[in-house]
Amino acid sequence: MKRADVMPQPLPAGRDAWPGRAWLSRPWLAWTLILAGAAVLVAPLYFTFVFATHGRTEIFNSPPPLWFGSQALSNLHLLEERLPFWRNLGMSLYVAGMTTLLNLLLCSMAGYAFAIYQFRFKRPLFALVLGSMMLPSFLHMIPSFMVMDALGWIDEPRALYVPAAASALGIFLMRQYIGSAIPRDLIDAARMDGCSEFRIFRSVVLPLLKPALGTLGLITFIASWNNFVAPLVVMRSPEHYTLPLALRSMQTPNNTEWGALMIGSAIAMLPLLVAYVLSARRLVSGLTAGAVRG
């Protein structure tokens, strides 16, 4: 891949016809539009944080507040009154953490098998996993609710993190990465030294997988953290709700405490925003991996 910041070649003046030339020769117009667009995109997030610091009445002042206020703590107290908020936050952390750990473990092991070994039914098994998991997720909604019901897992956090541990994206990313980044000689050398197959995986391969594990871990965590439909279907008691579900349950037709809701939303978004800022490049390249091939 070429580096991102290859300089575009300057164009000889006077040769180009409208509209492209005019568009690019007056980049301030495009710049204005693009910055305005970026502002429009970021504005709702900004207002989440602004509204989080204002009470219900101030939020719906005319004009609404454009800058931070001083009601953050009282909003938080309201939130604690209305929701088992810290339990919901803990549940989100627990579910997303377990999903990520299990996903990394199962996908790296299976990806390793698909990348390194030759065995019977390798191709059909891989095709089966990828194929069936590319099916739309709503097809799973009803039958997996019934499976959870049959297992007695309704209202249990494991109903959220166990199924998410087997992901097509995870196995695909891991197989690609292991196939290209792990030298076979290294594995053969470890075998000569008498390492068991599992020991090779744990002590030789796994440490080399760190970058891929980081990317996949981040993607998995974000997806689990933001997941709304799975907890909606499975969770019953409010103290087992994950954050998105808990916040949504606070939205009532008449008497919604918007300030409290906004601080809840802000807290729900903050970890992801921080993670994103710290790892934007890796995350974006990870998300689009495999897409470049078209």
Binding site: M1, V147, P244
Partner: protein, 314 residues
């Protein structure tokens, strides 16, 4: 050495246990379920086969028709602008923006990683009829010269401030905008990543041949981007046809207008979890799947073969 024969299967086993129990089995079971009549409250033994009745019921149900039309409307109205904006935007950023590029792309991408619930909640305050920021901004605009008075006249004609999420005319566009807002950055990133692999020499050669920027975009960039356009449009199509969260959260299901944003996925959810009709809900999910598969296939027929050809030529 014999142990190695078992090794791959041992590495695969945990993944496949989870996959079979929670991935493959539910999928096959849902096909079976779509031919059954069953009330979950009365236990598994009350399940009995009804042949194609569930499918027939769904196909002839006017609500299902409405939900399909809504779903297709969303796929088109929130889907097409995502690409029509993201593609030129990506091209401009690729050719013009050197400094601050990561920040700019980051701003466009950040809605994609934030929780859809938090987003829906903030948008419901922004869309609020009497006090929402959007209506407040619109009423500020009426003070401007030139556009002010026609805007005010239009508002008066509508009978005051717009009830974005409470009026059947505006609810769908309002929801569609949120979907557009959320996925624009994702498509931008896809297109940027495709632009970066285009050989810069091609542009140099085109410039030497006297091609204008527009001609370069039209004859160099666009053909080379076709595989990515195809890929991105396919993703949008599949995603939008399953649309659930945004309309579900933004528009209260108690309200009458929720009908106007009831997508097929919401229809299926209500059948199963509000009405307890799991059989018909499963049938609806497979009908929707058939629709998605057909549209994806059509998209590939119209677009895909051509795209592959361009890719190989490039």
């Amino acid at each position: 050495m014999r142990a190695r024969g078992w090794a791959p299967y041992l590495f695969l086993a945990p993944f496949f246990v989870v996959f079979l129990v929670f991935g493959l089995f539910p999928l096959l079971f849902s096909i079976y379920l779509s031919f059954q009549q069953w009330n979950p409250a009365e236990g598994l033994h009350t399940m009995h086969s009804v042949g194609l009745e569930n499918y027939w019921y769904a196909i002839t149900d006017p609500w299902f028709h409405d939900s399909l039309l809504n779903t297709l409307w969303f796929a088109l109205v929130s889907g097409a602008p995502q690409h029509l904006v993201a593609l030129p935007l990506a091209y401009f950023i690729h050719r013009q923006v050197k400094r601050g590029r990561d920040l700019l792309v980051g701003a466009y991408f950040v809605p994609y990683i934030t929780s859809s619930v938090a987003i829906a909640l903030i948008f419901s305050t922004l869309y609020s009829k009497d006090y929402g920021l959007i209506n407040a901004a619109l009423s500020e605009l009426t003070r401007l010269p030139f556009i002010g008075s026609p805007l005010e006249a239009a508002q008066l004609a509508r009978g005051g401030p717009i009830d974005w999420l409470g009026d059947a005319d505006t609810t769908r566009p309002a929801v569609a905008f949120v979907v557009f807002w959320r996925y624009l950055g994702w498509n931008l990133v896809l297109y940027l990543s495709a632009l970066q692999v285009i050989d810069q020499d091609l542009y140099e050669a085109a410039t030497l041949d006297g091609a204008s920027t527009w001609q370069q975009f039209r004859h160099v960039t666009l053909p080379l981007l076709k595989p990515m356009i195809f890929f991105a449009v396919t993703l949008t199509l599949i995603g939008n046809l399953q649309l659930f969260e945004e309309p579900f959260i933004l528009v209260d299901s108690e309200k009458g207008v929720s009908q106007s944003v009831m997508t097929s996925a919401i229809f299926m959810y209500r059948l199963a979890f509000n009405d307890g009709d799991f059989g018909t809900a499963s049938a609806v999910s497979w009908l929707l799947f058939i629709l998605i598969a057909a549209l994806t296939w059509l998209n590939a027929r119209l677009f895909g073969r051509d795209a592959r050809g361009a890719h190989e030529a490039g």
